[in-house]
Symmetry: C2
Amino acid sequence: MQFMFKRRDNIKEVEEGKYLSPKFDENGLIPVITADFKKGDILMHGYMNEEALKKTIETKEAHYWSRSKKKIWHKGEISGFVQKVKEIRIDDDQDSIWLSVDIGKGASCHVGYRSCFYRSVPLGKIKDLKNLEIEFKEKKKKFDPKKIYKDEPNPTKL
Amino acid sequence: MQFMFKRRDNIKEVEEGKYLSPKFDENGLIPVITADFKKGDILMHGYMNEEALKKTIETKEAHYWSRSKKKIWHKGEISGFVQKVKEIRIDDDQDSIWLSVDIGKGASCHVGYRSCFYRSVPLGKIKDLKNLEIEFKEKKKKFDPKKIYKDEPNPTKL
């Protein structure tokens, strides 16, 4: 699965070495956390393949692997909401990535909100797991997805 | 795969409805981003199954699914570095979770650092992809993993 980056030869090197040697899963993907570089809040959770990671490093704009479209996805290519990458971090076993990005006054979420994480789950004893109400933390959309995406298929899958 | 929480019956409800209806993948897992509730920096990236998510909501302490041990993992059960959950957010299509946690003066990373994301990837044109040097952003470990974990197997896989 892994060809472009350094081979993962031993655990000590992966964890404490100085080379990028990311682990891609059985689908050739690595999970990516995307956060606002100033506010620190999480904007989205996505995936990259090798090519998307290389493009992100080199162009300093976030590229993902779209699992719904099955192709490289330059974030913002339709909406214009490009993510300018300020920093990329890799974790201990190099199987996940944290992107810090600048989205200006833009948005990250295809539903129209600034962050994809616009709803909060209440904590504590659960009465009815099948009807657990969540709370909207973003009250207002940043854009109208119908105007921006027009006839694009919705990436959400059941 | 999904039994405990509300069924995912239609996309509109998943995206804009008021019920928790998380999507677990073909292994019964959902990816989890864990961030510090005050500083906002990312501490780790993990996975939960249904049971771990339920336990996390109810106990307000982070529980994950350990893919290496193949069991529910109450974070801190060995190290003592429990994660007190301050908020749980769910994303638009409800297939990833953002936990905001309080770790006090503790650490999150089995290698000994505060955050698992202690190394940064340089941005810009890459000269040699197979020898791409990354930079340590945390200089000092918070604890000695040999003392804390003793004979526990290392969860990192090549």
